[in-house]
Symmetry: C2
Subunit: 604 residues, 2 copies
Amino acid sequence: MNIKEYSLEELNKLSDDIRNKIIQSVAKNGGHLSSTLGATELIIGMHYVFDKEKDPFIFDVSHQAYAHKMLSDRWDRFDRLRQIDGISGYTRPNESKYDYFSAGHSSTSISIAVGAAKAIKLKKENRVPVVMIGDGSITAGMAYEALNELGYRKYPVVIILNDNEMSIGKPTGAISKYLTKMKAGKFYQGMKEKFKGFLDNLPQDFKYAAKKFEEMFAINGIFFEEMGLEYIGPIDGNNLEEVIETLKIAKSLNKPVIVHAKTIKGKGYEQAEGYFEHWHGVGPFDIETGKPIKKSSLNATKVFSNYLLKKAAENEKIVGVTAAMPSGTGMKELLDKYPERFWDVAIAEQHAVTSMAALAKEGFRPFVAIYSTFLQRGFDQIIHDVCIDKYPVIFAIDRAGIVGQDGETHQGVFDIGYLKIIPNITIFAPRCFKTLEYAIDFAIDYTQTATAFRYPRGAFYEVEVEAKPFELGKAEILKDSNNIMLIGYGNGVGRAWQVSKELEKRGIEVGVLDLRFIKPLDIELLKSLKADKWFILSDNNKIGGVAESLEAFCNENNLNKKIISFEFEDKFIPHGETKDIEKMLEVDINSLANKIEWMVNNGY
Amino acid sequence: MNIKEYSLEELNKLSDDIRNKIIQSVAKNGGHLSSTLGATELIIGMHYVFDKEKDPFIFDVSHQAYAHKMLSDRWDRFDRLRQIDGISGYTRPNESKYDYFSAGHSSTSISIAVGAAKAIKLKKENRVPVVMIGDGSITAGMAYEALNELGYRKYPVVIILNDNEMSIGKPTGAISKYLTKMKAGKFYQGMKEKFKGFLDNLPQDFKYAAKKFEEMFAINGIFFEEMGLEYIGPIDGNNLEEVIETLKIAKSLNKPVIVHAKTIKGKGYEQAEGYFEHWHGVGPFDIETGKPIKKSSLNATKVFSNYLLKKAAENEKIVGVTAAMPSGTGMKELLDKYPERFWDVAIAEQHAVTSMAALAKEGFRPFVAIYSTFLQRGFDQIIHDVCIDKYPVIFAIDRAGIVGQDGETHQGVFDIGYLKIIPNITIFAPRCFKTLEYAIDFAIDYTQTATAFRYPRGAFYEVEVEAKPFELGKAEILKDSNNIMLIGYGNGVGRAWQVSKELEKRGIEVGVLDLRFIKPLDIELLKSLKADKWFILSDNNKIGGVAESLEAFCNENNLNKKIISFEFEDKFIPHGETKDIEKMLEVDINSLANKIEWMVNNGY
């Protein structure tokens, strides 16, 4: 379809069709719903005013880009959203040439646009990068760094600030408050010039002029204008006519422009309109009732949340932080119950980490609850602000391992590698819901160094062995063996346990060890193991993983062991349901049992 | 001394004494000079108005805090600045209880203050965090993330913005431009209220009022006020009376306040006043003439700079970026000669990395020149924006290994560990000046993945073997052996070579191998090695280092080798001259030769 030739009526019809298709696909496969529904007119406007064949279309986080996928080349494939070999929930250049960049972490879009603008200038091409960024994403430092350069160098870039007054949850911080102050209504760039003349010709009514002056300069957009960007807005981002008219002006300015568009999150699906976090990302649901199709079962996040709530009631030194993911990390209940001790600091992982270091210094027990993949943003802060001075900050790392349908940008497979290289940090992992509670206990009590523990999205593999509290650097033998030991870490313990049961059925006996601590290792126990074949199971990449630590340990201690790693290969892991991805990676129980059986039978 | 009882005259005398002591110590030991000289009155003001026994004194980057060190408890020890076991060039809580936090990387101070303020509020204490941050440091995203929360929650924190119109080099970006617009002069908080009344009572002279209105709200500080902070300034930060008076007001407000103070970098040392980068950090110099005592010899940074300049002249696709370190990274000459292709993006490593990914996508060959330690700030961006889509960005990693006198916060000992865990990146290292040029050649030509190569501060250890160009994944045997192979990587090759020469003198023959690539490894060559003892030399920490990769390789390939790592232990490495630190770590040539000799004699 060439929507550039559509009438306004046809465009409005198109937006209805897109919304219906989004609702149908997400109801079937799960996905991001409310932000992408709200952005439909803005994306139609982008496709109407800009040229997808040459202008870089850059979506921040990109979970709101479903309409873009349909309007470029994925209308027919869209019902396979987030399935293995189906459409990604995010923009992915390897899926379509119309996706300029991969995104999944927030606040990268303006940097990408600045880079694109530099290239366009050097190549002397006639292309304009157009960015869509949410009011949540603009709170991250990275967006500010990019604005700082953009406002200085003045490249022509159009930034659509999609302001639905929500981040994933309710947004927080001065910038959000600032944006909220601005009232929606028609506002055109020309008006500003007009008003200046008006002001000059109206010397009598000073108060009115001053009020207008303030409204224009202090309320609407001066923050961005002080950073060197043109500002237009706020406009009604769900009104196609207004969107198109404004984007045309913005594109023509040949300068960096912020188009501030107010939209309604969830627009077009009654059940979702006006709701905050619940409808941001959802599993399959019934369109009629809005009710989820699968009953939600107990998961690690919920266990973490419940238990921390209990501990926080007992110990007022417990504090904590989330970076704009209150529900996702389970911190919501804590923010609600103890608003003076738990904070949502917006999308600001760097600040989250470092500010909690100060609380640790002051004698508090701060929990930094950030997903494995997003904690990458706080890497330098963990080294520089937490570990150099040994502040006992507690890192509760959710979504460790395969995360499923969010894919490449969200897999939690690097945290062991990037954390264990840092001195002065204690790293361990629970294997089940009960040991997750014990992990919290241990972290609260242990104040010699920072601590970090990881747990998977959803549930753990089951281990039918009674849970025990953590002791510093102590591993646990769940089942001994003189020959083959499956050494598990975190969710890898359950994986090992289930594999051992499967192998038992096939007549092969193996031992299972729960490593518990990757730093420090249980030197004594490892040295005492009689088994000389160690098979390592842990939900992270091989490089920087658990097996490497054990190989280094064996080499240093002159232990001659055959170590085989079943951790993940050195690749980015694509999207798809976790069970499908596990099969693809051959780390599901059956594949693992097959491989080990083969090794046993072939004298490995 | 209790300076709170000093007269203004005595305080002014004190500032002269402090400056003299700074100049003497830095002339002797080297160190940071111009920013700390400029900040003298501000720091005296902090100590006069705040209480160092209870108020957190937080210095951003903290190289400007020398006066604070003298005014707390290090007056007498200050001449041992930056020497091993002497005073650190940065604030360090393990050196003095008056140093609230370690710092060395920029833009962490406001986050620390927010954390401290939260703790103070919870503890119901009467303490006020006071921050000193430079106009360069406020450009980093992390500062913005912290301001966003601070302006929202309104904790009482006094932020002294030490604006010397310079970062390390000339500052860049919209924020710097914005600050520069503001003109120095007396300005008190009370004036604002006064002016509002004045405005109300003066309806006739509209133009004058509007001008004043604009001056106050639009020019001075509205950027910060829109972020929810009070703003006072700009004041003359080298005028003690004005500084003290303003800080008293700021402290009394019980709100977050920015005190914008203009200072002169290098103030009090004629040769340094008004210069940009040269006097920021210096080696020992002659006070009379300002000339360096040691002649500067050729170093890796200079070789990188010269050769890239040559390549950039030949190939217009070569572009590059520095994050506010033009001279330190050798990019200055490129910025000067090709201002349209090389950019200083301010202290903004995140943005630097991601924006260059877009240039790589558009067919350019972007060089990201960032120190090993500062690249930690761009870690997530390397994974998420560069490597997922395999953009061939080139990371030129200076200051890899021991950096000497800057100490813990600056050591470049983690980059191998945090980079090799990422898929789709090729990692290698030159061993000498000539191979550094070859590294640049290889990186320009190789476009299958991102590339990263590291090189040390200053010079390499010497290797008297002719340099050869890099071939993907190919190592090089410099001297073979059937028994012991010293396997070097980067500057570790020269270390290995010199050790082999020392051992030869002692009658012990060992081979030397230049690994060249840590990712991918030279599988064939490594498999073919006859030596069964591999001793690993590389300037990085053991955990996540080169030996671990080789151990994993041997295990996977059923090679039975004894691998011993001479990489660094799992600790933060303190400051001191590099040769002293090497001895302390026992990685100097003699210590290494001794250890290997002992091993050989004891049948290892």
